[in-house]
Each structure stands twice: as structure tokens, then as C-alpha cells.
């Protein structure tokens, strides 16, 4: 069974997006669930949006649509996640919208390194939380 977890950074980002005025990003969690629901672990691992891999891990910058605003994958959200190669574990590291008041244009290599370092710390301290994909 595939387990989905989230870092404190990811949870904070989701919280901030849901608090943006007029509920602009209110459906962000629904978009995440829709993007993963029914997928096999192989489908989650094999993605053309892969930005990094080694013997143990794959990091993917997933392009997600924003159906509420009729935005395609190209213009919707970006979800950064790490998936293990040997176990059925997926960990959400970061998410941001490509458009709207909280628009972020890109993420650079230094930010990604920081996200992986945070994950290592939080995993060891047991700070990761479960993210339900139903």
C-alpha cells in the first residue's frame, strides 16, 4: 500500500494557500488527491517531470492543473515530491501556484537542496505527517 506523507514546510505552504483571500487556492488539496488517486507506485515514480534521482530516491516536480480556474498543467500548481525506489513511500516537500496572488515562477537548486535537508531532519525526528489520498 502506498503511503503519502508531508513535511512541515509542505503543510505550512498548504495552510498559507488555503488562507489566501477569496479562497483563490481553496481546492489545492483536491487537486493533489485527483493527481494521485488510483495511480500505481510505478506511475508515481515514472514521470517526465522528474528532476533528480539516485539509487534510492526520485524527486519529481509535478505539473498539476488548477481546475477551479480552468488552468492547464502548464499554468496550474507545482508539487515537489520525493518517492522511494524500493518502498511504496511518497513524501510531499513543497507546493506552489504558477498563477494568482501567491504566484511563484520557479524553484532553484538551492531551494531543492534545502527541502531534502529538511526532510532528512524531520524524518529522523518523526515530524512527518500522513497525507490522505482518498
Amino acid at each position: 500500500m502506498i503511503t503519502f506523507s508531508a513535511t512541515t514546510n509542505f503543510n505550512a505552504r498548504i495552510g498559507a494557500l488555503k488562507n489566501v483571500r477569496k479562497g483563490v487556492y481553496a481546492t489545492v488539496e483536491e487537486e493533489i488527491r485527483a493527481s494521485f488517486k488510483g495511480l500505481t507506485i510505478e506511475q508515481i515514480r515514472q514521470n517526465r517531470d522528474m528532476i533528480l534521482f539516485n539509487d534510492e530516491y526520485i524527486v519529481i516536480k509535478l505539473r498539476m492543473p488548477d481546475k477551479k480556474h480552468r488552468l492547464s498543467k502548464k499554468d496550474g500548481y507545482r508539487l515537489i515530491y520525493l518517492v522511494y525506489k524500493d518502498t511504496e513511500e511518497v513524501i510531499f516537500l513543497d507546493i506552489y501556484p504558477k498563477n494568482g496572488p501567491s504566484q511563484q515562477l520557479d524553484i532553484d537548486d538551492k531551494q531543492l537542496i534545502e527541502l531534502v535537508n529538511q526532510l532528512a531532519d524531520e524524518r529522523e525526528k518523526g515530524l512527518l505527517t500522513t497525507f490522505e489520498i482518498k
Binding site: L52, N54, D75, K98, A120
Partner: protein, 144 residues
């Protein structure tokens, strides 16, 4: 090796076209939304071409078209800023919004190539971060 020459030619062609649009904007009354719509379709198509190739783009490939792509992105941004200042009566709002999204998409694609295709494979800091995660996983497995 990706389709470097094809990408390069299309980037240069679209840079010229985007720049020409800026010049025409100097006399905006003769400018029509359909012209901007056509440019947006071509930018969309360029995005798809580069996105299809992005996982195979090497540092050598990027050396060929990277500089041209950066100029195109800057030109689109300037055109976008000019379009935003035009009076509403010209009816350019929707195509201007799409141009802004095309700018954002190409900016991201360029940034991904630089950060994740060129810089990341050589990054000692990333190797260390993944090693740190691997060690944490090993310790967790031991105590489980």
C-alpha cells in the same frame, strides 16, 4: 542530443516576432488582439517543443540556444508590460493574460534546464543532502 537546431531557429524567429509586436505597439490603434493571439499560439507550441525535449537537453545543447531563449523571455516580458498599459478599448486583456502565462511558463522551463539539467548533476551539496537522508533512513530502519 535534443533537437537543438530546431529549438534555436524557432526561438530566434519568435524573438524577432515578439520584438516586432513591441514596435507595432508604439501605434497601438492599428494593433489587433488576433495578432497577439497568433503569437501566443506560437509561444505555446515552442513551450511544448522544449518541454518534450527537456529531459534530454544537455549543457552543450543549452550553450547553443540558451542565450537566445533568455533574450526571447526578456522580450516577451517587455511586450507583456507594454500590453498591460494599453487602453481597455483595444480588447487585448485576455490575450495579454495568456502572454503573461506564456512568459511564466518559458521562464520556468529555462530555469529548470539551468537548475536541474546543468547545475544539479554537479552539485556536491545535493549529493550530501541525499546522503544525509539515506543515513537517516538507515538509522530508522535499524531501530524499527
Amino acid at each position: 542530443m535534443c533537437e537543438t537546431a530546431v529549438i534555436s531557429n524557432r526561438v530566434v524567429r519568435l524573438s524577432r516576432r515578439s520584438y516586432n509586436h513591441r514596435l507595432v505597439m508604439a501605434a497601438p490603434n492599428s494593433y489587433q488582439a488576433s495578432q497577439l493571439a497568433r503569437l501566443n499560439r506560437e509561444l505555446d507550441s515552442l513551450y511544448e517543443l522544449i518541454y518534450d525535449e527537456w529531459t534530454t537537453i544537455s549543457e552543450e545543447d543549452y550553450r547553443v540556444f540558451g542565450g537566445q531563449l533568455v533574450i526571447l523571455i526578456q522580450t516577451i516580458k517587455q511586450l507583456y508590460d507594454t500590453c498591460k498599459k494599453q487602453p481597455r478599448q483595444l480588447g487585448l486583456q485576455e490575450e495579454t493574460r495568456k502572454l503573461g502565462m506564456n512568459y511564466s511558463a518559458l521562464y520556468e522551463l529555462n530555469s529548470d534546464i539551468v537548475n536541474f539539467r546543468i547545475k544539479m548533476p554537479k552539485s556536491e551539496a545535493m549529493i550530501q543532502a541525499l546522503h544525509k537522508l539515506s543515513e537517516a533512513d538507515a538509522r530508522i530502519e535499524k531501530t524499527a
